[in-house]
Symmetry: C3
Subunit: 428 residues, 3 copies
């Protein structure tokens, strides 16, 4: 349970909020590279941390991410013309380069110096791993570009999607941290999931629904160990990495299946982007795997065409099928691992009221993640390197493995938790 | 006219409001029994007095009405599994019985005492007359189960429906109290209505549009006498019963037609349930009558399929037909007794601003009903039995009859106002 | 750039606001005469300056514009019966004449004096030029009926339309004042427009995108001169009239094409009516011209059938066509002069935040128009005749003409700026 003040502090990320200030110190996955596929393509709207922005790719393939509203008379640059190395407002022709400089002001007299006095908000962008990343914080405090494992692989080794989640980012991210719900919400679908199929892990998950949780701080966030009984000598451990401020990595099911992970990025206080990726560090994804992911299986979704909103959404009760629920084809009646999660998370309301929750021992990781976020807000001006912001904090893996009962999980899994692109990973 | 403060006091019914405290001292019609038709059927959402609840019927046919949001992490129990005498949250498997006890907490360690410390909000329910009733007030102050006449009859003697009204309950209920509008809003449709057809009453209603109103307090609410001239010696009286806090009984038209009545129950401050029932105390309803009611005639409505929202609603101007209005087929152009009422009531805005109204002599009953509600709020802690809460307050009838001009209506109608299930009623 | 206080002062027009007080001192175009086409036709809803009203035409062709909500119990008079010289509420039959008098109160006893004590809000109306005008201010301060040139012509010399604009009136009106955007937003469509075709003006507009602005106060508002280079000896002047409080007249393109103008009238703070008219002072409009206007060309629009909402609107991104934008068929990708304007204006948000704008020399007219509005608010109680409220302020024309470089535009255009119905106008 949180106080109202703690909850407000955690969920609000608009400009000027404490958590918004923290999040602006990290690189942010802003949009899929394919949303602006080529030089001079149409600009697209992007909303992040409560800020309305416009993204475009200029003639020289540079990426711009500007305040959506023209500095002149606040018309939207969505209607802008992307041409000759800049985005030109459709109202009076003011033209911006990717750095927010006014490079043309054709409505003003020749020789006017006005344009030199205007600077438009522009955030630096990089393209990495099929995603365009931006940094919205103070320029002198910009950290290195992220190096999550999947970003370092060849294009054919990964698949990335994003979807709109109609809730605050925190309740979404808590779902990614929370390993306990897998035994319930996904109980009847573990074998369907392309990432889960044909593994020993499912067997342990279903047999022991009461994992013991051990949580340890990592440099970048948390190591969340969920311990289940495997046999008389061994525990089955599933170890989730939480990397600050919003990444979760799913413990794997066998080494033949791809790995998976998420980022939970605030759009505004009542919506977030749920980013989802699958990758295999040692091989290309197969066509069958890619087809399933494109079709919305596993952690991905089917969309309303032309949008990033899931077909199964709040407005249609997530297409709940009570018959499927009664017949144990789906625990909640909702189809798909992903929709099973976000239907429950969105059902808490746009912003979960954490003054009403009753947390148990299975929520230890959630409690600690909130504490780390609140601590980072408090220490923001003292810390040289924010947890999760350094590449070495990001080059990590989750794992699932059997360990003798006497071996502490951080010790037994130490090697398995380091990402080595090109080499396969540890999983049972 | 009310002051702003009086109006606020009357219309607000959320937890913690004075009127909400009063209403929580009465049994409330919560949902149709057929909405949860059988043991272990899917749970359904119910919102009452601003509280989000979830209703279910357990394996042993007991009815549960719980706070919608799981005590653990506030996910909606709408996605819950109704199985083996309890409703299990789809997120982490917490399971509740109909009394709100945590009967299983599979995410916590075996032997954990945590579940004994958690008690979920649960309201007692009874099923009576095809309706599930709940009591949301202090347990020690729970009144007897209601005994409105139709609740005491055989199933084949009544028909019950509910519909969503997109306005505060009070302006809806005032329509039920207000006998005067019948001569106008329903003027051209009195003969169409299955409850009105072929009676003398219609003749008097149309001939005298200026009834005199005499209102008397009853034990349970008000007796509202509308007096119209019948002939030189007699008055035609239509006597409406208002039973606190929200029941209105329609004066009958002939003894061959069924009786009718309503309950006006707040969903939240801007929406209410309009419950409508027809019944005949002395005979089963005929197939023809039932067919008409199912088709939405009279006080019932046609729905948007799969919902309780009327097909004719605010978003489509209630399918107003100006041609029908011009040709005197409908006074307002809206079709159907029920839609004629709620179209006008909703047109006042979600919450009627009573600081702007100008009440006349025809509004005497409305004025007195408001006063009784406000008085009951004031006396809430002093009264042993709240008006309208005792079965003897509820076993009453409305009536329509001719009385010699010299006879006071309470006296002349005394017998006719008592409900005796099995015996027919008095009406001209 | 404005302060937040200045912006609030300018954009808010509900009852009781300073700008609302100013606007209520002018005649207001309220609805198209054809919306209430004949005596006793159905009443229609009209919202102006934040007030909900109902318009009707009585049996004797008098026009009524009443507070929408019945004085009795606040039901909407939209459902009213328009019959025998009055509008009768469908709830209890109260009947109003066009002056807001209660002429029948059939729910009250015969002989009741109650109806003489009730007076309903009613605004005087006149029908002129195919439009119904109303005056919502203090009766003793009512100015003469407007005499804009098109109002004084024969019916076949003009075409009038209105459309819903989903923004505050001010950012809409600023578009009408702002001559500079024509070279950009409409750049590729100047030749398509029925008002622009086949003229020299287009040539100058495209050649010189950096007009110099000279603005002069007129009796009724502003004269806005946009000066472009024509040749070595002459300037090409486009002179726009702004007539207070909300009229703009478009400078013509040739004398063979019709003239055009607009009124920008607040519905509420987040919506306005954009009135558009074309007219030729010296000849009837041709069938071809009328067909184009009815089809939504030029300053008119295509509608969602049965509404005044444009087919291309905020909810569908104005049907933007990125291909047409890339191929220079439309500067912004939006089709149609009118939609090109309002798409950009609405994109500023429902109420433009003028604390963020950066105005240049091309915005001189906008700056001065705001100043005149603010000054008029300040002097409201001192002025005998408000600027723009007298017929002589309204009988003016915009013009486009070549003038020798040495001639000041007010002097050179003096004659051309006076409206003489029946005589043609000056334009190159």
């Amino acid at each position: 349970m949180l106080t109202r003040e703690q909850n407000e502090l955690l969920v609000r990320t608009d400009p000027g909020t404490p958590m918004g200030r923290l999040f602006r110190r990290y690189w942010i996955p802003a949009l899929l590279a394919e949303e602006i596929p080529s030089p001079d393509c149409p600009p697209v709207r992007v909303k992040l941390l409560g800020e309305n922005l416009i993204a475009f790719r200029d003639t020289q393939n540079r990426i711009g991410l500007l305040d959506e509203f023209c500095a002149h008379r606040t018309a939207s640059l969505f209607f802008g013309r992307n041409e000759e190395c800049g985005l030109r407002c459709a109202y009076h022709g003011w033209k911006y380069d990717v750095e927010g400089n006014l490079v043309d002001m054709p409505s003003e007299p020749e020789g006017s110096k006005f344009k030199e006095r205007v600077k438009h908000t522009a955030y630096p962008c990089v393209e990495r791993g099929g995603v365009i990343w931006t940094y919205m914080g103070p320029p002198d405090l910009q950290p290195p570009v992220p190096e999550l494992e999947w970003m370092l692989l060849d294009d054919d080794q990964r698949f990335i999607s994003k979807r709109l989640q109609e809730s605050n980012y925190l309740q979404a991210m808590e779902g990614g941290i929370d390993s306990s719900h897998v035994s319930f919400a996904h109980r009847f679908n573990l074998d369907d999931d392309p990432m889960h199929s044909g593994t020993e892990g499912n067997k342990y998950l279903k047999a022991d629904t009461r994992p013991k949780f051990e949580v340890a701080e990592s440099d970048g966030g948390l190591l969340i160990g969920a311990r289940r009984t495997a046999d008389e000598e061994n525990y089955y451990w599933r170890i989730t990495q939480w990397i600050m401020p919003w990444y979760t990595i799913i413990p794997p099911f066998g080494t033949h299946n791809p790995l998976g992970g998420h980022a939970w990025v605030p759009i505004d206080d009542e919506n977030c982007w749920a980013w989802s990726w699958n990758y295999h560090p040692a091989r290309p994804l197969s066509e069958a795997e890619l087809d399933a992911m494109r079709a919305g299986d596993g952690i991905h979704v089917k969309y309303i065409p032309g949008t990033f909103r899931p077909l199964a959404n709040r407005s249609n009760d997530y297409l709940i099928d009570r018959q499927a629920q009664a017949e144990n084809k789906s625990f909640s009646g909702v189809e798909g691992i992903s929709a099973q999660d976000f239907s429950l998370q969105e059902s808490m309301g746009a912003i979960c009221d954490r003054t009403k929750e009753r947390l148990g021992t299975s929520d230890a990781a959630i409690i600690l993640a909130r504490r780390r976020l609140l601590a980072a807000v408090e220490q923001l001006d003292e810390l040289d390197v924010l947890p999760g912001s350094a590449p070495e904090h990001q080059r990590v893996r989750s794992t699932s493995l059997l360990l003798p009962r006497s071996v502490p999980f951080e010790e037994g899994a130490q090697e398995a938790l380091i990402a080595t692109p090109g080499q396969t990973f540890v999983s049972v």
